[in-house]
């Protein structure tokens, strides 16, 4: 291990291209430019230029809410329609749902590992920050690799075929296979390969056949039947903690897609949820989001 990656440079590099305009004072997150939820979280935290070990999620959240208030005041003054506020709020909620994802990991049944003390040790916030720290380190390493890859791309190795007089020295090939064996080999290589089992880390979320899509449907049905409901009412029929967690995630997703609205009449009062009438919520799309490539885009 000869060198240590430059902390400064790496911090800069974690700012994705799409976030450049943030110097103008925004908290905007161009999600499509990010490389998954960890990227977004990391960006949120590095944006505040704090040591992420010392940052509590609550502080990031508080700052975000303060920023939103400011933005709201500005847009009111400018007479704009507040769409920007909504956009940024929903984007932040996606991030928040990732945090909840991590918290959820703690709440779920874990078989024989379900030891109370273990859970206390795995306090969700610490876990998240440790993971982010790790992610950040790998981002720095990736930057180093990217630089090397770029520099080395300017050099080409000499890898030419052997000059004929030396090729002639090679031992005569012993051809151990016939045409049939060759055909079998070609068939095997050309046969469509089964897609490898997806190994997405959030698989535990619906390990017990609880899916966000199904719970979203359940929520929709409840709200259609009974109008505005509090969260406690929405989860009253849940027979497992897992259902409560997944239903909550479903709510966040539905809010992101503007299928529902939240209202809170008093500070710390019950959160009231109602359907947005003209919405067209696509539960299946949510499921795809969670099970699919998770935003991974490979441009090659």
């Amino acid at each position: 291990m000869s060198a240590t990656l430059s902390e400064e440079a790496a911090t800069d590099s974690t700012t994705p291209a799409g976030a450049e305009q943030e110097s103008a004072g925004g908290f905007r997150l161009a999600l499509q430019n990010f490389n998954g939820p960890f990227d977004v979280l990391l960006h949120l935290i590095t944006k505040r230029e704090l040591d992420i070990t010392e940052v509590a999620l609550a502080e990031v959240t508080d700052e975000f809410i303060a920023y939103l208030r400011e933005l709201q005041a500005t847009s009111a003054a400018e007479g704009s329609d507040g769409m920007k506020v909504l956009d940024e709020t929903t984007e932040f909620l996606v991030v928040a749902s990732t945090l909840l994802d991590l918290k959820a990991a703690r709440l779920l049944p874990r078989g024989e590992m379900a030891d109370e003390e273990d859970f206390e040790l795995l306090e969700a916030r610490d876990l998240l920050f440790a993971r982010l720290l790790q992610y950040k380190a790998f981002k720095q390493a990736a930057e180093f690799l990217g630089e090397r890859y770029g520099i080395e791309g300017a050099r080409h190795p000499r890898e030419v075929s052997l000059e004929p007089q030396f090729a002639a020295l090679l031992p005569e090939l012993v051809f151990s296979i016939g045409p049939d064996a060759l055909a079998a080999m070609a068939a095997k290589a050309l046969a469509p390969k089964p897609e490898p089992e997806t190994e997405v880390g959030i698989g535990h979320l619906h390990g017990a056949n609880v899916t966000i899509a199904e719970e979203a449907d359940a929520i929709t049905a409840l709200l259609e039947a009974r109008g505005t409901l509090a969260f406690t009412e929405l989860v009253a029929d849940a027979d497992a903690q897992l259902v409560v967690v997944v239903r909550f995630l479903a709510l966040l997703e539905m809010f992101r897609q503007r299928a529902i609205s939240f209202a809170q009449e008093d500070p710390l009062g019950p959160l009231l949820i109602s359907l947005v009438q003209e919405s067209s919520f696509d539960a299946q799309a949510v499921q795809d989001d969670y099970e699919g490539s998770g935003g991974e885009v490979d441009h090659e």
Binding site: H156, P157, R158, E159, V160, S161, L162, E163, Q165, F166, A167, L169, L170, P171, E172, L173, V174, F175, S176, I177, G178, P179, D180, L182, A183, A184, M185, A186, A187, K188, A189, L190, A191, P192, K193
Partner: protein, 213 residues
């Protein structure tokens, strides 16, 4: 070497005629080092006309520079281990014959008379999908095949296809020698793939060259 570059039309013409301030002349080492760089990675002889295009200088200047390099490498004081030779189609770096014993012992060291499994599989793919690019073979096999393709070329089992593929990719095809070694009269005698693919419904599409990568 560098001269002030005139910006008039006549100046540009002069630049090309004089060929004194081509881009390569801005670099340390100039044309000679540039030629060394290209020829060092060239697998087949490169004509001075082609080199002249690459460096935007007259062919005569390239030819002169190549002669200078070749002479320098042959120097009596310290002949290089490589030589720059002109063969029918152009110029290429070769190892110097004086050191052939050592080169031979390097080449023969660890050589076997058998093709590796990776080489055989690659050969099978080329046989049934020719002409085919290295990129396509890599996609089909899911691994990098650069080195095995080189082995197959060296062994004379495959050769470059006369035309290039999409994006200028080199395509490969099997050789007469390949047919001989397999005891086949022609490529038509290659067995159909279908019997080797039980359970694949659409055999026709597999046999015809429609693999999507």
């Amino acid at each position: 070497m560098r001269r002030p570059c005139k910006t008039t039309t006549r100046g540009v013409v002069v630049r090309w005629i004089m060929s004194e301030i081509a881009p390569i002349d801005q670099l340390p080492g100039g044309l000679e080092s540039g030629l060394e760089a290209v020829l060092m990675v060239a697998d087949i002889p490169v004509s001075s006309a082609r080199l002249a295009e690459i460096f935007e200088v007259p062919t005569a200047r390239v030819a002169a520079a190549l002669e200078t390099l070749a002479t320098e490498y042959d120097s009596k004081d310290r002949p290089r281990g490589f030589e720059l030779r002109r063969v029918a189609s152009g110029w290429r770096f070769y190892s110097r014959a004086d050191y052939a014993d050592f080169v031979s012992s390097y080449v023969l060291d660890g050589q076997t008379a058998r093709l590796s499994q990776a080489a055989l599989e690659t050969l099978a793919v080329i046989a049934y999908r020719q002409p085919v690019s290295r990129g396509r073979i890599s996609a089909i096999r899911g691994v990098n095949v650069d080195s095995v393709v080189r082995t197959l070329l060296t062994r004379g089992l495959i050769t470059e296809y006369p035309e290039v593929g999409d994006g200028g990719a080199t395509l490969y095809q099997t050789t007469e020698y390949f047919l001989e070694r397999l005891g086949l009269g022609s490529l038509d005698e290659l067995p159909a793939l279908s019997p080797y693919l039980p359970g694949v419904a659409d055999l026709e599409s597999l046999d015809s060259a429609t693999y999507d990568d």
